[in-house]
Amino acid sequence: MRVMAQIAMVMNLDKCIGCHTCSVTCKQTWTNRAGTEYVWFNNVETRPGQGYPRGYEDQDRWKGGWRLAHGRLVPRAGGRVRRLARLFANPELPLLDDYYQPWTYDYDNLTTAPLGDDVPTAPPRSLVDGRPMAVTWGPNWDDDLGGGPGHLAGDPVLRKIGDDVRLQYEQSFMFYLPRICEHCLNPSCVAACPSGALYKRVEDGIVLVDQDRCRGWRMCVTGCPYKKVYFNHQTGKAEKCTMCYPRVEAGEPTVCSETCVGRLRYLGVMLYDADRVGEAASVPREEDLYPAQLGCFLDPGDPAVASAAEASGIPHDWVEAARRSPVYSLISRYRVALPLHPEYRTMPMVWYVPPLSPIVDALAETGHDGEEVGNLFGAIESLRIPLGYLAGLFTAGDIAPVEAALRRLAAMRAHMRRLNLGEDADPAIAARVDMEPAQIERMYRLLALAKYDERYVIPTAYAAGAGAGDAVAGCGLDAPGGPGMLETGAGVAAFHAPPGTAADDRLRGRINLLNWDGKGLPAGLFPPRAEGGR
């Protein structure tokens, strides 16, 4: 047993309102630079829908992830020799048009247009070549099913379940899917990089691009089936979601988690057996990949695991954090979280609690009590199309685990409603989903109340091979071209810093409204009066 630790995330899709706050704060932090205009490390897509980049889930076209060749895992885009032969033009690279052509508006025209009969407009301008352009696609063009059923034809998951269901589907079911890099246990982006610039960190499993080693071969973009590595067309380097590692190292949640208005993201440590990963990723049947991945995770409560972890160099407080990990609870204890597209065989580590609300809503629309347990179970069984779709996303088409997760969520609703209405708890409800009432209440606390320090259990960073003084040198964001170089980049560090720390001096005597308590008139709230003013 070779124990490794991974910082993993779970998102509770029931609570996502599709507000895109996570995407915007992430972009402001990481990709608000030239060359990354089109890049969203975090994006939120409406499902059913095409996603971003368009139709990225169609691996027959984009060739991301792994495939099995005679029982062995090979990158779907081809092994080492084929990759090198494609070095000078990568035939499976999504183009800017597949993401979208980034644009801005010519706001100048609003103030400089000559006087005339028409109100002046701000016409769109390409951010790539500066020329006037027609805006025909964007990062969330089909948001909220905008654009009509026509766009649904581009959803590869929906295509798999069949044409006839499309219209009916659109009327009954819609939800949001926020996506970041999955920080996979078996990352195909890393495997595809000819320069060895991408790597998985030993300590926390975060997958990063070494900017000094990347040579711009763009193979990782093809390699990632989730299309979560991007090519910066200004620097000529690949960039990807960093799991906000400078924050996570300090024990803080990622920016997308911190700012999520639905408070639906969970961060914590998962312990897994690295020796089992290869075998689990190469089980022949795709439907077996979800259980196989579950089988890689280790129970941090097991003393044998704890001692093996410490023997593998994982510090005590990481094992301790793994024990309290909300992510482990949702994935392994309650089994309500599921991986996204396990069939890509990359062993993704951002998991999702499937959405029950659309089913409750559909039930309520028919005039039934949407929270009565019998009704809910009946609805979960009868709404086969949504179930099939969710299974296409989360379990490679196997409906049983999706159904089990939804039934547990339904049981939680019914159970808690009785308590809230002052009725006696009905242990039969919990029993129908193989849980104890107390367990359901703990799950309720985690999913519904979602307290800050229960959502995020993040141990601070350590250096593998303890005592390596280097690690204190920090995250290296200050290198030329790094975000730390920008004056505003200080915001990364200052984001969660209490007032009065070093990060404050960029305020230059003004007050930071974000942590002003609203009382009194602190110095700097208003600019100093001009000498001899009114």
Binding site: V81, L84, P194, K200, R215, W217, H233
Partner: protein, 238 residues
């Protein structure tokens, strides 16, 4: 005239070599972040899909041809009983084809760079200097190959190659080069310019050829401490 010849074929090669080595070392030490292919495939893929491979593979063969033609003395092929005429025909066919491919590929790529606005915008000042030089070197090289074959009057393996090899024993055979036809001198001089530009232009990405990929395991693990250590804390990871 004599002094010019000495300067060109006796001194300049060493200056270029120093510039090439020192420049590359400097670039590797201080600008690893700048070592990249600067690919523009994101903007345009159809023309690149043809031009990119044709140019690069053509060029690789051209380089291989130069290595053979410059470094293997005629005495060796004679000893191997390879008749001079056969050698020449091979060199003409293989070299000519590779040269033509490189020129055609470069033509496509340059056309693309000029005509696709998004690509054109990425053209740097260095590129504007480099591309004309590269194109001229290639054309001049092609000309020496084709014209040399047509007239058959000059055997570069008894002239240019001798001079080239003499550079490495620090005893430059200036007359060997000074008596070469103008086309060869032109091609060689511009070639030196290319090597001088190499470390400071996008040509430097040739050093990044990722041959290690063939032998490394697919998944790379790195420790946090190690990643902070690259280039004294300059390892920016995103």
């Amino acid at each position: 005239m004599k002094h010019l010849q000495i300067a060109l074929w006796g001194v300049l090669p060493y200056l270029v070599l120093v510039l090439f080595v020192a420049g590359s070392a400097w670039r590797y030490r201080y600008d690893r972040f700048g070592l990249t292919t600067r690919s523009t495939q994101l903007h345009e893929s159809r023309l690149l899909g043809v031009g990119g491979p044709v140019f690069h593979f053509g060029l690789l063969f051209v380089v291989a041809g130069h290595v053979v033609g410059m470094l293997v003395p005629e005495s060796v092929t004679n000893a191997l009983r390879l008749p001079e005429s056969v050698y020449r025909e091979n060199a003409l066919v293989a070299g000519g084809a590779a040269g033509l491919a490189a020129v055609a590929g470069l033509g496509i790529l340059l056309w693309r760079r000029l005509r696709v606005p998004a690509v054109r915008r990425t053209t740097s000042r260095g590129d504007r200097l480099l591309y004309p030089v590269l194109a001229t070197v290639l054309l001049a090289g092609l000309w020496t190959t084709l014209a040399g074959a047509a007239t058959g009057s000059y055997d570069y393996r008894l002239g240019v190659s001798v001079w080239f090899r003499s550079l490495f024993v620090l005893d430059p055979d200036v007359p060997a080069m000074a008596h070469a036809p103008f086309a060869f001198q032109f091609h060689t001089a511009l070639g030196m310019l290319l090597f001088a530009l190499w470390p400071f232009s996008r040509l430097v990405h040739a050093f990044a050829a990722p041959l290690g990929y063939l032998v490394r395991p697919y998944i790379v693990y790195r420790s946090r401490g190690a990643s902070a250590g690259v280039g004294a804390g300059r390892g920016v990871a995103r």
